[in-house]
């Protein structure tokens, strides 16, 4: 039996809309799941905060915990001045977290396993950092690339490396999330394929199939950790990049 582990990432057109310059613009399963994610996050947070009790209930605790968690992250890595970006970082964190978690439901679609989605988010962060950096600091923003206390002889090489590392940020920022989700889901699929292949081999195969089945269960638990960790990593890197725009001096 042939199992294609890449099949789950296929984009399916659900509602063809129009054709612009040879590019098909349509409502696909990726867009559908993005609406589901935004709907889930909005329902959860609005529902949790309508009845504001002094002693929080279960829902309100979730909302308060996530708020405090992200607020502490922003405050510790971008300073109190960075708190003006808190709504942005919180939105990014909740979107990525719920995209990862909803993607773990079998037969659903993982939005963050599409490079174009994560690249768009990373480029948004990148341009906000560049735009805000120049708007707030003017040309002093370029001090970011000139570390203090470096001998003049090697300064050009250092500046070159700093610029290069700054430009490669959106690449690593987006590819990290994308590749983590892609690799995790492919691994799950491959081990699930082992179960089916072994179970199809007869009674003896059923006992053999138990091993990859246990592995799938454990990997799913690991994937929940990865889903949360990658959302956190995405948020904390956003904070660190924003910190460069707010305080460009090294």
């Amino acid at each position: 039996m042939q199992i294609d582990p890449i099949h789950q990432f296929e984009i399916k057109t659900l509602l063809p809309m129009m054709n612009v310059g040879g590019h098909q613009i349509s409502f696909n399963n990726s867009a559908l799941f993005m609406f589901i994610i935004v709907g889930t996050v909005s329902t959860l947070l609005i529902g949790a905060t309508t009845r504001r009790a002094v002693v929080p209930g279960r829902l309100q605790s979730i909302a308060e915990l996530s708020y405090e968690f992200v607020a502490n992250t922003v405050r510790s890595s971008a300073g109190t001045e960075g708190m003006k970006f808190f709504p942005f970082v919180f939105t990014l964190f909740m979107f990525v977290l719920f995209a990862n978690l909803i993607g773990l439901i079998p037969y659903s679609f993982t939005v963050t396993s599409q490079l174009i989605v994560t690249a768009t988010l990373a480029l948004l962060v990148f341009f906000i950092v560049v735009g805000y950096g120049f708007w707030k600091n003017g040309w002093h923003f370029l001090n970011l690339f000139v570390p203090k206390g470096v001998p003049k002889l090697i300064l050009p090489a250092i500046v070159f490396i700093e610029v290069l590392s700054f430009l490669s940020r959106p690449v690593s920022h987006s590819v990290r999330l994308f590749a983590n989700m892609l690799a995790g889901h492919i691994t799950l699929q491959v081990f699930a394929g082992f179960v089916i292949m072994l179970a199809g081999a007869g009674v003896l195969g059923w006992f053999g199939a138990a091993l990859p089945f246990i592995m799938v269960v454990l990997l799913t638990a690991l994937e929940f950790l990865v889903a949360f960790l990658q959302a956190y990593v995405f948020a904390i890197l956003t904070c660190i990049y924003l910190n460069d725009a707010i305080h460009p001096g090294h």
Partner: protein, 75 residues
């Protein structure tokens, strides 16, 4: 050599790079744990740095995995 075979061999070789990332992530978490056992009260404050270092190191391993995936499914 058959191009398809060369592609699969290349994907396998590309994955060796992940070993380096594995070593790096191990060093980061090992050192964090060692430091946290020496001074548990300061450990909580360094959690952000831990995750940051982990993310930077992991990215390099992910890049080699990406090359392997590109060879297998992209090109």
């Amino acid at each position: 050599m058959d191009p398809t075979a060369a592609k699969y061999i290349g994907a396998g070789i590309a994955c060796i790079g992940m070993g380096g990332a594995g070593v790096g992530v191990g060093i980061i978490f090992g050192n964090y744990l060692a430091a946290a056992l020496r001074n548990p009260s300061a450990a909580q404050g360094q959690f952000g740095n831990l995750i940051f270092g982990f993310a930077i190191t992991e990215a390099l391993g992910i890049f080699s995995l990406l090359i392997a995936l590109l060879l297998l499914f992209g090109l």
